[in-house]
């Protein structure tokens, strides 16, 4: 579809995809009550150990009011803002995947009786969760994990069950961190789809758009006002501010072939000399999905549970096979992570595995920046 045609179709207009209303800051607390009375537990941003993390929250008071994050390669700090913004930060070390793809979950249980082993699904009844404060890059990450866990021939039922019980309240970014590059990955900063509600924070309240009947049902219980032209303009400016602040770029042109035709590039040795193989990048990545299953048994060995835990391609034993390890060097493990994320993910799932959130850059203890690694390899490409 050409741009011109797009403009004729109102549904595809990117600026205001859904009807917006205004909720004053004083009325925002009501959202918590409405969500709770609708049966949701609320999870959202809160401060813990000097970082903005996602956790169960109870009221507006739990939000990181007046705080922002400063991020650079290998650096994450909280700074006080000169205003009382509730969502005046970008992304922290957590992502929503911990709720949809739990770091540790029981899969099956086995019980030994006189006839031998009997197996059944582990009991699993996740609560209805309202995600409050999901960024555009995080919506993209959820879309990507949907493809991984539900979009293929085999459906992961633990993910699916959780996914079907969430309400997503997105928040448009109004600023960007130094590590953000969502514009390169075409994932943000504007929230365009994949949410029930999306908020844009202004000085005195929020513009709220509902894109699903579930979202609309929540908004209908809030105290709302018509959006004024001035508020509309302020919101546009604030959202544009995030776009303007994004300076980091990753050139994704033909990136699959670029990386897969450079598997023996000298840069892999260079980055391996810095990489600690610590797994931080995979733990903070909102799309990394590698896991391992372990046995948890009672002392008699007659009641056994299988539990799945997050794992990482940076762990040496991850590629263990028949008495040997396939990826026995940091070089081979960094290469696996980056080529999977940016190249072979496209073969496997029809999308990049990277959303440009920059977490792997901030939380790398030695500040490795994958956008620089791509650029270094591209520099030598013919």
């Amino acid at each position: 579809m050409t741009l011109k045609e797009e403009n004729h179709s109102e549904e595809n207009l990117p600026a205001t995809p859904h009807h917006e209303v205004f909720v004053a800051i004083d009325g925002f607390a009501l959202l918590f009550d409405v969500l709770k009375s609708s049966g949701f537990q609320i999870v959202g941003p809160t401060i813990d150990q000097d970082a903005i993390v996602y956790d169960q929250i109870d009221s507006v008071d739990d939000l990181p009011k007046g705080w922002t994050d400063v991020q650079k390669p290998g650096l994450y700090r909280l700074n006080q803002r000169n205003d009382d913004k509730l969502f005046g930060y970008n992304v922290g070390p957590h992502s929503w995947k911990k709720y949809l793809f739990p770091p540790n979950v029981a899969l099956s249980i086995g019980k030994k009786n006189e006839d031998g082993w009997e197996f059944q699904e582990a009991p699993d009844d996740p609560p209805k969760l309202a995600f409050l404060g999901v960024r555009a890059c995080e919506l993209a990450a959820i879309r990507i994990q949907d493809r991984v866990f539900v979009g293929g021939d085999y459906v992961d039922s633990t993910y699916q069950k959780r996914r079907q019980r969430i309400l997503i309240i997105a928040v448009n970014c109004t600023q960007a961190a130094e590590t953000c590059f969502c514009t390169s990955m075409d994932t943000g900063p504007r929230c365009t789809d994949g949410f029930d509600l999306a908020l844009t924070e202004l000085d005195d309240g929020f513009l709220v758009e509902a894109s699903t009947p579930e979202g609309k049902a929540i908004v209908d219980q809030l105290i709302t006002l018509e959006v004024t032209r001035k508020q509309q303009q302020s919101a546009e400016l604030a959202r544009q501010n995030a776009v303007d602040q994004i300076k980091k770029r990753m050139d994704t042109t033909e990136i699959r072939d670029l990386l897969m035709s450079n598997l023996e590039h000298a840069r892999w040795d260079e980055v391996a000399s810095r990489c600690l193989s610590c797994t931080n990048c995979t733990m903070v990545c909102p799309t990394c999905f590698c896991s391992s299953v372990e046995e948890v048994s009672d002392l008699a060995g007659e009641n056994v549970e299988r539990r799945r835990q997050w794992d990482s391609c940076f762990n040496l034993e991850f590629s263990y096979m028949n008495g040997g390890v396939v990826r026995d060097s940091t070089r081979s493990r960094y290469r696996q992570w980056m080529t999977h994320k940016l190249a072979t993910w496209i073969d496997q799932f029809g999308t990049s595995g990277c959303v440009g959130c920059g977490r792997c850059i901030s939380w790398c203890p030695v500040g490795i920046d994958l956008t620089e690694e791509v650029a270094a390899i591209r520099k030598d490409a013919p």
Binding site: L107, G116, W117, F149, G151, D156, S157, G301, S319, H340
Partner: protein
């Protein structure tokens, strides 16, 4: 735009868990050679037994509760799935644990998983089965199928190498297979007193093989990666192309359905895209160390 996957994620009816094994009972254990035995397994649940079908080259995840799971090729006849053969060499915790079990004991089984040998490709063509050591059992279901419909195929050759004569597998069936129309050549790395057969790598047998038409042949190969690479190279010398060769690959498999990430080789999940690949689809990946 909401992707189809996201629609499925939120709207589709709940899928059954991929993680719950079915109970199987060990009906019999046939010792093969040192550290190798064939476990003959049967489902305890009649519905599970009735619905289970597998194709040659596919594998099951065998589960010893408290120890773990291991990916094991099915080595029996696909037309007799009521007794599932798994020919297992002791290699890790699970396979070692299995040696402690006896007929009547139960375990868990998930499967079958993975791609299979392309039996349809064999019709009207000569078929070369080239393998080494514990690589024969994954080809055994294909041998049963080929010999059951012997008239559908051209010449059938099994070229089989092993470390030494005492570790050649399934030799008690070789006479049957020969009578049914399979020519068999064996070779060993190290000869012993009384061995009158070939000595050397299995590619030597392929170099010298006659009575096949390279333009109308398919080759199935299962063995260590280095062996498969040399077999392919020799096959090219004999006039085959990569599109005529299939190999069975191996990686650390845990979930068996492409969700845990362990078995990746470049873009491929060995567990669900493989283990059997046409050689041109996998060859460039096999030569990159540590991929």
């Amino acid at each position: 735009m909401i992707s189809n996957a996201s629609k499925m994620a939120t709207d589709s009816p709940r899928s059954p868990s991929l993680w719950v094994p079915k109970t199987v009972v060990i009906r019999k254990i046939t010792p093969e050679v040192e550290n190798v035995a064939t476990y003959h397994l049967a489902f305890t649940d009649a519905d599970a037994a009735a619905s289970y079908r597998f194709k040659p080259g596919q594998f099951n995840m065998l589960y010893m509760p408290g120890v773990g799971e291991s990916a094991i090729s099915i080595s029996g006849d696909p037309e007799s799935p009521e007794l599932l053969d798994h020919t297992i060499r002791v290699a890790g915790n699970v396979t070692r644990g299995l040696t402690q079990l006896k007929p009547g004991d139960t375990l868990g089984l998930r499967g079958p998983f993975g791609s299979s040998w392309p039996m349809g490709q064999c019709v009207g063509r000569d078929v070369l089965l080239v393998t080494g050591g514990i690589g024969l059992p994954p080809l055994r279901p294909a041998i049963y199928q080929l010999l059951k419909r012997r008239q559908d195929f051209g010449n059938l050759h099994l070229l089989y190498g092993a470390r030494s004569p005492d570790v050649l597998l399934h030799q008690n069936e070789f006479d049957d297979w020969k009578r049914s129309g399979l020519t068999i050549q064996k070779t060993v790395d190290r000869s012993v007193f009384g061995w009158k057969g070939n000595v050397g790598v299995v590619t030597l047998l392929l170099e010298r093989l006659h009575s096949f038409d390279p333009s109308n042949t398919v080759l199935f190969c299962c063995g260590p990666e280095v062996m498969m690479r040399f077999v392919a190279r020799t096959a090219f010398d004999r006039g085959l192309t990569a599109e005529q060769i299939w190999v069975s690959t191996e990686r650390n498999m845990q979930c068996a359905v492409g969700l845990c990430g362990h078995c990746q080789l470049g873009p491929q999940f060995i567990c669900k895209d493989g283990p059997v690949f046409r050689y041109d689809q996998i060859a460039p990946l096999l030569t990159v160390e540590g991929l």
